[in-house]
Symmetry: C2
């Protein structure tokens, strides 16, 4: 039997209308919808896709439990476990759409599972999604870069001291629990800061300076720092 | 009369299927389609939108001539001229969709025209598009960032020596005529390089090392440099 193909499908940052035509087609053509999490139906990516693809709930789902940890061994084990679940569907010739928030090439769990399955000879393809930082710029109605400016996308769950010194626009992702620390550093630099919480989701909120920023933020907080 | 609203609409990097549902809706709801260039119908952004929106050719178009120059005065003048053209439509209460390649917040001409019109009191909104670097990562089937990695988006039409030293993934945009110079620098650093030319368009081509890269590239060349 011909093996199924795995698609890593970006569903964008929150608003179901920010899904692309291609993502919608690939989801509709897939038999199995894979999502990281304990239960597919309650995951954010699944709910976004459901907003654009009404027959989604008729499809088979594969939930891939992924613990929120930086411990490499635990992560590696859950990636291998996820890949094993998907390999079973692919071996049955089924097309699998692995949904990712934002874009699959940017900090997605899909990347690790894909690598394992590629190593095992499976065919994979990425379908781009709107990354959260583009949606945040649109929500704030500001540019990320003009003319000679660079853009630096920084995972703020790791230390960011050096990154803040870079010239150009800095986008801090995944601040979450470290938001208090990040805020202090931004205040100390007197930086031009804007933040979006839950962009395109329920509870979307904007903060237009470092002073306004809360000390703890949701996982979906995104900060744009201008020169 | 109520003034019309200006939308900066990202149509993605080339493949009409990479347009979002929202971009398609906003284009369909708009009376006027604005595009930078001498003639709207021959511009890349217009042709991409036409691939997804069949009744596009029935809409009024506004071509905004934008010279390819770094001379600030000439640029400023063409932005002011473009804003003036659009203001006339907005004053007639017409909704205008200004099409941009990729995402409007990333190096788009829209940003300058929007700023002028906002200063004159017009209402504007950005509609995100898939940026070229996400589409290039998908075309190459590689990640842009994993775990603690940063992403640096660099306009390579300006000097890039310092930028190449940054840790994380570097994306070099707009190399075009400077490609030979850029290639030399990448070879000197022995960097892990992949390049996509005309991503999602006719003549899409991949180069999987700096050695393979040509000495001149199209305006739509994009280079991914990994650590």
């Amino acid at each position: 039997m011909k093996k199924g193909k795995l698609f890593g499908v970006g569903v964008g940052p929150g608003d179901p209308e920010l899904i692309t035509l291609k993502a919608l087609r690939v989801i509709e053509e897939s038999s199995v919808i894979a999502v990281p999490g304990e239960r597919a139906e309650t995951s954010t990516a699944y709910r976004i896709a459901l907003g654009a693809c009404k027959n989604l709930s008729e499809k088979e789902t594969a939930a891939l439990p992924m613990p929120m940890t930086k411990k490499k061994e635990i992560l590696r084990e859950s990636h291998l476990h996820g890949a094993k679940i998907l390999a079973e569907y692919l071996d049955q010739g089924k097309q699998v759409a692995f949904l990712t928030l934002g874009d699959p090439s940017v900090y997605s769990t899909y990347l690790y599972v894909k690598k394992i399955l590629e190593g095992q000879g499976y065919d994979t393809e990425m379908v781009s999604g709107i990354p959260s930082f583009c949606a945040a710029a649109a929500a704030l109605n500001v540019s990320l870069s003009e003319q000679a400016e660079s853009i630096h996308i920084i995972p703020a769950s790791y230390p960011i001291g050096e990154a803040l010194k870079l010239s150009g626009t800095k986008v801090l992702m995944k601040s979450g629990k470290k938001l208090g620390e990040v805020k202090e550093q931004l205040l100390a630099r007197g930086a031009d800061v804007k933040m979006v919480e839950n962009c395109g989701m329920e509870g979307e909120r904007h903060y237009l300076s470092a002073q306004e920023m809360p000390d703890e933020g949701s996982y979906y907080s995104l900060i744009v720092v201008k020169e």
